[in-house]
């Protein structure tokens, strides 16, 4: 491997796809070779199991309400509704996506990590020395974050896929509920949510750079988004007495995610699921684009 032999090769344009493929592999390796791997994947698997457990317990309580409730009639009606095919399908869908509203937070933080860790550890210098075409580096990071979103979704789906049939059998619900279109839809929309939140986190991390600031901002946007969106939408509704204004809450990314995932309407006046998907895609694209623009121009020192 003499430099003499290598120099001409270095001037030959490597195909974009080939370069991108090896950059993605390098990005995956970056995550695999630090503690982040175990924190994210192990932590996620543990959280998924806990969420399934919690889902099991809460649905069990719903199916077999205790007898000392003040609204006993309502509780019994709910339990009866759960026994209908539609009710069982809804339960199955809920079990197959146990804790998803919390779990997508992990992919959000993973997206943040993929880019901010390089600034915190000062490895961005060597990353850009190897690949001065920064848009390729960011592209690889986007693909990696999305791939990890898919991976975490797969872990959740496998865990829930094992737990849910057992749950249905244990609660004497028809196993056929698992095959309903509602379950399918919930799982597929979940995949979209995992991927989009990972991209959202990456864009946010690229813009903010500091891992702590970006992580706090990510959580604030995720959790606080609900509150602010509901507040503003309700105020507008009170002011103008138009219930469609309530639907504007979908503009908050967390609400958009909610609208996208929910079977039926997520809240009063909520737009259809695809509106939520569009809003979330728009956020992902805008933030990622902003991140690319910032990283491409910024000095690395």
């Amino acid at each position: 491997m003499s430099a003499a032999a290598e120099v001409p090769a270095s001037r030959v344009a490597g195909s974009r796809v080939a370069v991108s493929a090896r950059l993605v592999r390098a990005e995956v390796m970056k995550i695999r070779t630090t503690r982040a791997w175990w924190l994210f994947v192990g932590g996620f698997a543990a959280l998924t199991a806990l969420a399934a457990l919690f889902g099991w317990a809460s649905h069990h309580a719903e199916l077999y309400p205790p007898s000392d409730l003040t609204n006993e009639a309502d509780a019994l009606a709910q339990a009866a509704a759960d026994r209908t095919p539609a009710g069982a399908a809804a339960l199955a869908a809920s079990m197959m996506t146990s804790g998803q509203a919390l779990l997508v937070l992990v992919t959000l933080l993973l997206g943040v990590h993929v880019v901010t860790s390089e600034y915190a550890a000062r490895t961005m210098t060597s990353t850009f020395l190897v690949t001065p075409r920064r848009e390729l580096v960011i592209g690889a990071k986007l693909v990696t974050a999305a791939a990890f979103g898919v991976g975490l979704w797969a872990i959740a789906t496998v865990v829930d896929g094992v737990v849910t049939p057992v749950f249905l059998a244990a609660q004497h619900l028809p196993g056929a509920a698992l095959g309903s279109s509602e379950v399918m839809r919930a799982v597929v929309m979940g995949l979209l949510a995992y991927v989009l939140w990972a991209l959202f986190g990456l864009g946010l991390g690229a813009v903010l750079r500091n891992p702590v600031v970006a992580a706090v901002a990510a959580i604030a946007i995720y959790a606080g988004g609900f509150v602010v969106a509901e507040l503003v939408a309700h105020l507008l509704n009170y002011a103008f007495h138009a219930s469609w204004l309530l639907g504007l809450a979908v503009l908050a990314p967390a609400e958009a995610s909610n609208v996208m995932i929910a079977s039926g309407r997520a809240f009063q006046g909520a737009p259809p699921w695809w509106a939520g998907a569009l809003v979330l895609v728009a956020y992902g694209v805008v933030l990622a684009g902003l991140g690319v623009a910032v990283i491409r121009r910024q000095d690395v020192s």
Partner: protein, 294 residues
């Protein structure tokens, strides 16, 4: 409960297998004990000599580089060349703009004006720059929580080099025994060596090093000097920044002296020293009133 247990058990098994699969992983989390400073390898591995017809590809040419940060000019119209087959020392007091100049040369910092080329291209235009240019900026530049070997493997993977190259360069800089340890446990000298290993990973024709002697013990300084001299002797271009005059005097063929962002002298070592008693006298007079101490 069963599910949580299952996850913990499966996780534990995977963890154990992973640790088993990696030799040296048991000692990874331990900090380097005193006296564990790696042995300097007796032989220098610098790669095959560069045929003379390819030397022009390794010429570094900086012309009119300028960098302003918020109205303050930290690098002001800097021009110089670094020639193949020679060691060029970039000399200047702290804060003179050496690092910024090198970062502009390497495409990490966008110049406010001027251009820097390696061969005929700017750094950002070279397709696989690791194969042409090796750079050492801050010590190691590696993630604290990653092993030295993994740091180099990530570079290999991104550059499209075989992963085995990581072990080759680890051996070349005398870090073979500690490659499996986390960088967190490395001494400053070991970090510098890891940085040199990273610079050598693509067997480049041009080496650009920012203060490579920092934190090295006398044996390490000697080794670095011998390595850089051998690299230059093989037809490679070596550009080294430093403010350690004695070290530069023994190492460099050519000098570029910058102070307060401007080139105040350049040429061969002898021509820069000129009529002065030595490099120290020449340097102090050239940079008088322009360093940190005024």
């Amino acid at each position: 409960m069963i599910i949580v247990l299952a996850v913990l058990i499966v996780g534990g098994i995977v963890w154990l297998l992973r640790n088993r699969a990696r030799p040296g992983s048991a000692e990874r989390r331990r900090a380097a004990p005193p006296g564990a400073e790696p042995q300097v390898p007796a032989e220098l591995s610098v790669g095959a000599p560069i045929p003379e017809e390819l030397w022009p590809l390794g010429r570094v040419e900086v012309s009119g580089l300028t960098k302003e940060y918020g109205g303050v000019t930290v690098v002001d119209d800097v021009s110089f060349t670094a020639e193949p087959g020679r060691v060029t020392g970039l000399l200047g007091p702290n804060g003179a703009g050496k690092t910024t100049t090198l970062r502009m040369l390497l495409g990490l910092v966008a110049p406010s004006g001027g251009v820097a080329r390696i061969g005929r291209s700017r750094y950002g235009e070279i397709e696989r720059p690791v194969l042409t240019v090796g750079a050492l900026l801050e010590a190691s530049g590696a993630h604290e929580g990653r092993t030295g070997r993994d740091h180099l493997r990530v570079l290999c993977r991104a550059a499209g080099l075989p992963l085995a190259r990581a072990d080759e360069v680890l051996g070349a800089v005398g870090l073979a025994r500690v490659g499996g340890r986390l960088v967190r446990g490395y001494s400053l000298g070991m970090r510098q060596r890891l940085g040199v290993a990273a610079a050598l990973v693509g067997d480049p024709q041009v080496l650009i090093l920012d203060e490579p002697g920092n934190g090295l013990d006398p044996a390490g300084i000697r080794w670095t000097r011998d390595l850089l001299r051998a690299l230059a002797a093989s037809g490679r271009t070596v550009l080294v920044s430093s403010h350690q005059l004695a070290e530069v005097e023994q190492l460099a063929d050519d000098l570029v002296v910058i102070a307060a962002g401007r080139v105040v002298a350049s040429g061969t070592l002898e021509s820069v020293i000129g009529a002065h008693a030595g490099l120290e006298e020449a340097f102090l007079e050239l940079t008088a009133g322009r360093g940190e101490i005024r």
